[in-house]
Symmetry: C5
Subunit: 356 residues, 5 copies
């Protein structure tokens, strides 16, 4: 089996002063790409930046400016953005450290979200985790992604085609829409889990073997990892309600409560899966031990039946000069009779004891 | 074994703007039916609507108007009702998504409940789950059900026959009556569980086998699923007390406390069942392993007894030319004596060791 | 084994309007009996009522009136009492439903307690549960019991013989005294558990068998049921402190704190018993599997010892025409030597491996 | 094994009015002894009282009066002290009931502590539990012990020799010093546990047997009992901070926080021990089952190897008249060849399967 | 196996008055060394003190004075420092008792931290724990370490080379930097754990044996110990936020929140490791028992196959005078036919039963 890394690299930063910008995570060696969407209810302007010189031009001319950044390996770009928008050093550090837990932090003039975006890899069908950081300002939203590819395509479509009310709303609604898209995609992951759980259940009652147990452990491990990504999200959204930050208008509260309900529902489901997998494991072990017991019972019955008979045959295989039975003319049939009645008696005893 | 779907479909809605009306759940392909009951202490008017054109006529002419809607697959109907009563989009979305957890939400002018209605299916004796959403306004109560058939028949009777004080009270009392009917029916489900638990206990002490273990796991799984539906209900009712919404008159509080007590009692009972089932499983496994041990002991005793004897018989079955014992005239009886005393000694040893 | 009902009947009331009086519980077919004690510091009047006509005469003439009612099957009596003292319908409903969890509720002018009274049945030595409801008014205390026989006899004696200060105090003190008597009797139950636990421990280390395990599970089940009755009591008493109802004078607070301490102590002890029983189970299973291992080891040693020897004997039992060893004059003793040294070698190996 | 009582007697008091003074606990039949220490910064007067007549003379002439009482079987003495210092009946009742959980209660003019004093018995090395009650007044401290012998000797020395600042401080400091001495001694108990745990760990990896498992359970049980005594202590000290009673001067707070830290540390350690013991048990069981598996493997290999060979020998031991092989001149060597190559093949198979 | 001490010595101090200075911990017999760093934004003065006479000279001449002290065995030095800076006795006592849990305490003019510094020992690769106490005053920071060697070298470099803003900030920032360095090093420890976990996982699926199980337990034990050191840290930092002490400027709050996030992340990871190790254990045990089952199955098949055949051979090895089969000319081939068809039938049965 090829060894797959279980963990991402943690903390290679030990010893540097706080606020030092170092990219911690898997290195995708990918050029940083920046997409801009600047829109209000009437107009929409889309741009993509690839050279650093273009930075000064970034400016929210319309109602909302969405700066989407993919690829974190070029720390210079991150630093420039930080300077352009006066973002604190600790915030940028957190953007680059892709081992953060989901969290929300209020900075002066900014609200900072760290989230985990899950996506099903198309070939393997396994979930991959990517950190998405959102920096919400008054009229701007900056989103940082680890690599290209995301779950936001439908939001871009809604902006372009004026679907829903996204074009009438501010940057806070855009932030909500991104969070909502991430959380909605969790349900796709959950569905893939449910499919695997259903397949497992079928196997368990029909034909369980050692590999079934390994599949259960494998799935359990994935759920443990997933839960680690999702668990703090609920808390995050709950804190958002309590702190009621200025940057988020009250009109958004019902929407956020809706996201919170979804996060709660996901956590509930993960708990349910865990309980079911534990139950599967127990069932599976019970099935396997039941099978072994069946095998052992057959051994016991066969051995217990034939060992005494073999002993009797052994007796009359002895070469003593004086063994009267050997010369009886009915000796041989009588021994058969003895052996058959002994075997019959034992079978009757086993039957009575309910052994088969 | 035929494969039964373990889970309902989750979130096929990914990518749509919030507030889009999509029916998520099992598709019953059932025409939406609407029943109206409009009553005050003196009068009662019952109607059923089947065409959409009749919608404009809906209006609370008397004290309380109960609009009961069965079947959610026709989203146009839901949308029309939403427009007629000015219900928010997120609320309607939750009505259609039948994977909600039980919850309560306050909207302007409305109180919104999501509940799970359980019913015993008559043929199979298994519990089926259906989502019921209640929208409580000043003088109206709208109830949305997934399919026809419910536990509210007794309430309709009480309205028709003026039993109890339901005709004197407002829409909030009607909402309470519906919640109470749903919760009361949970006890019927609990009773069916209790019957099965009692049967299981009898089996465990009399004649447990592998299928008993499977029954226990089956029941445990049902309890896990049921608890998922009921657990948030307690919290829901507790929140209701804390928020003290305007739409519910203070006179109703003792009644709601009563429902809360019932929900608490149900959760207590489910915990108790879980503990008992765990205990059953342990007992059952202990019984089964005890049986296997009995079988193994018999094997051990028989094998340990006869193996040495067979060896002795084997010795005197050898064909050596010079084996003095073979020619002794008492050789054969002496060997029997040796074997019997050996067997006796071993039996005495086993007895002393308390093996049988 | 005769099947004993594990559970009482739940909720046969589904479908009735709230406040309908139906007796839920085991039907004792017992006439309702009412005892009155009306007393102040100087005087005491005792009466017993058996006909319903006497009801109007009930009136607190002295300081405290204690109405003790045994037997709940006659709902008409309960209803009459309810009317006489203007008790709310929901309260009476709870009195009749004997599956309530222990709780406390404040109604206008009344404080309502539901408690579980445990008593050791004299023949079987098992604990039986009975629901006791107390309705505390300004000068009256009404106690409802399921059947005759209670743990209050000592309180009646104290009232009759003016022991302690019960005759100087009000109805709230009487209520406290009843609760205290119920809680004190729990300790008697605990003692019977402790005795059984001590006996079990002795058995486990001396002579455990399958029935020991069943006894442990049996005791564990009883503790689970008992805990369900007692657990909410602590919470109940704690709520009493927080709400500080008018009907209970401040002088009683130290006494109530005392009862609370006792309830806490009982819950602590039940937890301790549970932990010990779990530990017993593990020990017992470990002992039993240790025994099986001993048995298996003997089998292994005997079989491993004799199987090779029997093979050797089998070799020289073959009837080949040309087997040189058979004609050696020392053949037979040499085979014995071979077998004995083989056996000796194996025994030495087993000894070295610490197998016996 | 001699049966040791697991539990102390609970509640033999059922049926008496509250405030009745009955000694509940093991009866030491020991005369009550009273020691007095009356001191201020300059002077110290020590006395011991043995007759009841001396009671009236007790009076705090100097700054602090410490009345230490050993032996609770003589309830008359307790009652007299109660009268002399106007202590409430419920307090005295708690002093005499030695099954209390550690707690703190504020009475008018008094602060009442119940603590558990642990001491290592010198011969057996086992921990014995004794209840110590402290009644802290303005200038007096009364301490009640179950039997003679305590952990306070060093405090008496500090008072006599003016070590530390105990002579400059009030009765509250003395109370703190006593609590501190009791808690400090817990660490001695913990050390004895740690020694036993270390010995157990050594045994587990070297030579575990059934008795090792029993020792682990034994230690686990002692830790469960100990935790029951210590757990409420932390809560007690925490409550002391919250209530900030008048009788304790603010200067003492850092000291009390220190004791609280110790209690927390003890609870942490007990949890750690429990986790380690659970881990030991698992390791031990795994070791034992590993051993059994080794034994079973040897059996399997020997049996699987020789059973087919014995069968072959059996074949050529048959007495058929016409068995061509028997007359071949190379029959015997060929059979040996067959058997050896069969055995070799099986050994090679076992080796490949990694069975030995 | 050499016995390694599991626990440090606890509480050898029993019986001394509070505030007595005794060094509790492993005695390193190491001279106490004191390093001074006195700096402001422009200047830096470094000194090391080795004789006690130099003490009076200690004085913060510049903005921040960092006194770093290594080695606690010389209590006289500690006492002198205590006098020089007027530190309370209880604080010094805690500095010397190296079994403290991590905590924070506010004294007049001082904030006192106790932390656990972990370091990987270079040879063994195992984590060693050392207690670090920090006393934060207005312009001074005193750090106490148990032995020489620490994780602060990078901070000293930052001070010397003016890296980051440490030279512009006060003593509170220095304290933060030390705590941050300690917490950052925890990630190095976590990485070493992760490496071991990954190796274990590989082993489990490829070639598990008894020593794998022991490695898992070993790692689990280390994680339990580590968690005990780290767990209270989170609480500590949380308390810091709540109490908002004067000595820490508001500018530091984002930094402290950052450290808190890290501590949370570490605790999350430790929990994850624990869950994974439990899962590994189960997998490993399941693998090992699967192997044993495979072995047992082979035994069963071989034994069940040959025992009846051997019996048949035994039959025709009997020496009865009158056994007709023996004289049949086709007797021998017929017996072979019988045995082969019996063996074939059993193999077919085993195959059908899916035994191999």
């Amino acid at each position: 089996m090829k060894k797959k890394r279980l963990f991402k690299k943690l903390g290679k930063k030990t010893g540097l002063p706080p606020g030092s910008l170092v990219h911690i995570g898997e290195n995708f060696n990918q050029a940083t790409k920046i997409y801009l969407m600047d829109y209000n209810a009437e107009e929409l302007e889309e741009n993509s930046l690839e050279s650093l010189q273009d930075f000064k031009k970034i400016e929210a001319k319309k109602e909302v400016l969405w700066i989407n950044l993919e690829g974190l390996s070029d720390t210079a770009v991150i630093e420039n953005i930080g300077k352009a928008f006066e973002l604190p050093g600790l915030l940028l550090e957190d953007v680059l450290n892709t081992n953060q837990r989901p969290k929300i932090e209020a900075y002066e003039g900014y609200l900072f979200f760290v989230l985990k975006m899950l996506r099903l890899e198309e070939e393997s069908g396994q979930a991959s985790v990517e950190q998405v950081s959102l920096v919400l300002g008054k009229k701007t939203l900056i989103s940082f992604q680890e690599k290209s590819g995301d779950v936001f395509e439908s939001i871009r479509e809604r902006i372009r085609k004026k679907k829903g009310k996204i074009r009438q709303m501010g940057a806070d609604y855009l932030a909500y829409a991104l969070v909502d898209a991430i959380v909605d995609y969790y349900f796709v992951i959950l569905e893939s889990f449910e499919e695997r759980i259903e397949n497992l259940e079928e196997t368990i009652y029909q034909n369980p073997d050692q590999s079934t147990i390994e599949s259960i452990y494998q799935l359990k491990k994935e759920i443990i990892f997933l839960r680690k990504s999702i668990w703090p999200l609920r808390e995050l959204l709950n804190n958002l309600f309590k702190e009621e930050p200025d940057l988020i208008s009250e009109k958004l509260y019902p929407y956020l409560r809706d996201v919170y309900d979804h996060a709660q529902q996901i956590v509930d489901n993960l708990e349910l899966y865990r309980e079911m997998l534990s139950s599967f494991l127990e069932t599976c072990n019970s099935q396997l031990s039941h099978r072994l017991n069946e095998v052992m019972k057959v051994l016991t019955i066969v051995a217990t039946l034939f060992i005494p008979l073999t002993f009797i045959a052994g007796i009359y295989g002895m070469n003593f000069k004086y063994m009267p039975e050997l010369t009886w003319s009915l000796g041989y049939p009588l021994v058969w009779l003895l052996m058959l009645s002994l075997a019959g008696g034992m079978l009757w005893y086993f039957k009575k004891k309910n052994w088969f």
